[in-house]
């Protein structure tokens, strides 16, 4: 297991608001991450498409084999409400792509809408941040990037040995997050029982699960 230096973490930030891009860029840079900021989902896919092109000549293994590409993205953080392609649409496109779906995705939104939060987490988002995003939120990103780096490191070692089980199934969502909400807002159980099992297996002990109370932002009128 190699040493993973923070300066190697590269975050792709997507937001149509110039002010918010400036803000997220500063927040991320303060945390020593490299940042690429784009103003739309399609520009994000274009940027990520560089990775896909380079990967297409290889087998369908996940992104970030360092010997093959120059631009590696370790996390995507995107606004939800954007004209054209929403953050949710972008999330879906990323999760549908065999080369991109292992990149952790974080959604930001100025609106605290539980059904929206649920939908994003169900679709595979790793975190949902309420805007304005703060330094404390950015501190939550590292575990997701670390996990992917370690996972990809192990996978590149095991590539010849076995097929990646995630490639086989059609339900290839990454069940990294279990979202619990209070009262009658239960996570639908019927189609997620397999997911739930993998969630339990996949979670590391110090992973903090986002709770509904995390998303209720004190101070927003």
């Amino acid at each position: 297991m190699g040493i993973v230096a923070e300066s190697q973490f590269h975050v792709l930030a997507v937001d149509d608001s110039l002010i918010d891009r400036k803000l997220i860029e500063r927040l991320l840079k303060t945390s020593s991450y490299q940042v690429t900021a784009v103003d739309s989902g399609s520009k994000a896919l274009e940027f990520l498409g560089l990775l896909e092109q380079e990967e297409s000549s290889l087998d369908s293994s996940p992104v970030s084999s360092n010997t093959h590409q120059e631009v590696e993205v370790n996390l995507i953080i995107t606004d939800y409400c954007m004209p054209g392609m929403t953050g949710y649409d972008l999330l879906k496109r990323i999760k549908e792509s065999s080369s991109l779906r292992n990149i952790p995705v974080v959604i930001m939104s100025s609106e605290n809408v539980p059904s929206r939060i649920n939908r994003c987490l169900e679709e595979g988002a790793d975190e949902f941040f309420l805007k304005p995003v703060r330094l404390a939120d950015v501190h939550k990103l590292k575990p997701h990037m670390m996990r992917t780096k370690l996972k990809d490191h192990h996978q590149s070692q095991e590539k010849d040995r076995e097929e990646d089980p995630e490639e086989a199934g059609s339900a290839n969502r990454r069940p990294e997050v279990e979202f619990r909400a209070p009262g009658n807002q239960q996570q639908p159980q019927h189609h997620s029982s397999n997911k739930r099992k993998s969630i339990e297996e996949g979670l590391s002990p110090d992973r903090r699960r986002p709770r509904y109370s995390d998303f209720v932002h004190v101070g927003i009128p």
Binding site: S17, L18, I19, D20, K22, L23, R26, L27, T30, C81, S110, K131, P132, R134, L135, G219, I220, P221
Partner: protein, 149 residues
């Protein structure tokens, strides 16, 4: 005026702005992101906000001046302003935006016009107060005092 007095003024003025709701915690967050490597961060963000807000206020005036008001456009603009004001901690402006969106949803032109007036008023106040704030900081720097933030 000496540095000590200026600093006292700055502190008192800043506290007033927070107390009266012109600024909220988010502004403090912005200040925390400013350092010797990014000494103008707050001023830069605030400048962007001023430009954005003025543009949006003009657009809103246009939108509401039409024979047939496009409420979707109005809502989109107000949503944008709500977002950017929230991002810099401009609490009073953000609150007017929230009311504005409700009124816009009801397709109430009169109400929208009132909100726009309110927004213009709050924006003018905010701009003037922040300019005073930055002025004080500049004075402190010029007087040789260390940066307050």
């Amino acid at each position: 005026m000496d540095v000590v007095q200026l600093k006292r003024q700055l502190i008192a003025f800043t506290e007033l702005l927070y107390r009266e709701g012109f600024l909220d915690e988010q502004f403090n967050q912005l200040q925390q992101l400013q350092d010797e490597n990014n000494p103008n961060f707050v001023a830069e963000v605030v400048t962007l906000f001023f430009e954005d807000a003025e543009r949006i206020l003009n657009e809103l005036a246009n939108n509401l001046d039409q024979q047939s008001v496009d409420f979707k456009k109005v809502d989109a603009h107000v949503h944008q302003l709500k977002g950017s004001s929230s991002s810099i901690g401009a609490q009073r402006i953000q609150r007017v935006c929230i009311i504005f969106r409700t009124v816009c949803n009801e397709k109430n032109v009169e109400g929208c016009l009132k909100c726009l007036q309110q927004l213009k008023h709050e924006y003018a106040l905010m701009k003037s107060k922040l300019e005073t704030l930055f002025n004080l900081e500049q004075q402190i720097l010029a007087a040789g005092g260390p940066p307050s933030i």
